[in-house]
């Protein structure tokens, strides 16, 4: 039998100065999750230009002047989009690494090190993000 109890409202953000590592991990996970699902809706919307490309002139597809190709490459020509992509990578990497940490916590593995694994997630996210910047900014002018 499972038991539940009313633990009241957890998110009292007014007490943020009292938050410890686990609480920050939880807030960061939630914040990055909101951004990722928001992005997924936007992503599918942009990729929907493939419908127009597929039903359009096949010659334009061969010439790479179809609406899908020009929309994606037009976006990629914008410096701000590249910066946002780096931000998206940071958000996704943190969510993945902290998600692995949460799976471990759910399995009861390494509970005593849950604060350290949060810091490790943050540091590793920073390293991977910084290391990816050259790739994400290649072939674009400011």
């Amino acid at each position: 039998m499972s038991q539940s109890y009313n633990r009241g409202l957890i998110e009292d953000f007014g007490r943020w100065k009292e938050f410890k590592a686990g609480m920050w991990a939880w807030i960061f996970h939630k914040f990055t999750g909101w951004m990722l699902i928001g992005y997924l809706f936007t992503h599918i919307a942009v990729l929907s230009t493939s419908i127009g490309a597929a039903s359009g002139d096949p010659a334009m597809i061969q010439a790479e002047t179809d609406v899908y190709t020009t929309t994606l490459q037009g976006l990629e020509d914008l410096f701000i989009i590249r910066v946002l992509e780096v931000g998206l990578l940071a958000v996704a990497v943190f969510h993945i690494l902290n998600g692995l940490r949460l799976l471990m916590v759910d399995l009861g593995i390494g509970l005593e090190a849950q604060d350290k694994s949060f810091y490790a997630s943050l540091i590793l996210t920073g390293v991977i993000t910084v290391a990816s910047v050259p790739t994400f900014l290649s072939g674009v002018g400011i």
Partner: protein, 121 residues
């Protein structure tokens, strides 16, 4: 009479699915980023290139499963976040209905997009 013998409390299935989709998404999201930013650069993406990838049935099915897992994981995550925030009663039911419709629409549109990319529409 209709007593439940499952070890899961009501709502436990969604809890489990959230973890299963998480484990799947960890791998496929990392692959997706690597594939479209490091192996292929996003600024070099063309319809021809996308179509070549999508016409591989294994890749197509992985992407569709990725979409379904991502949509469920994201929408269920938003719902849980709002419930934790104190969402209850009728607003909770309305929010659930809106999220189910939005998530379903995202999956339907996404599959249509995947079919168009592969040239199977």
């Amino acid at each position: 009479m209709a007593e439940r013998y499952s070890s899961f409390a009501p709502g436990g299935t969604a809890w489990l699915l959230q973890r299963i989709t998480a484990a799947f998404l960890v791998v496929v999201l990392a692959f997706h980023f690597f594939q479209l930013h490091f192996v292929n650069h996003a600024y070099e993406v063309t319809f021809l290139g996308t179509q070549a990838r999508m016409q591989n049935v294994g890749y197509f099915l992985t992407m569709v499963l990725f979409l379904i897992a991502g949509a469920f994981h994201g929408v269920n995550g938003v719902y849980n976040a709002l419930v934790n925030q104190g969402l209850d009663g009728t607003p909770k039911k309305v929010v659930l209905a809106v999220l189910v419709i939005a998530g379903g629409a995202l999956i339907v549109q996404g599959i249509y997009v995947a079919l168009a990319m592969a040239g199977w529409t």
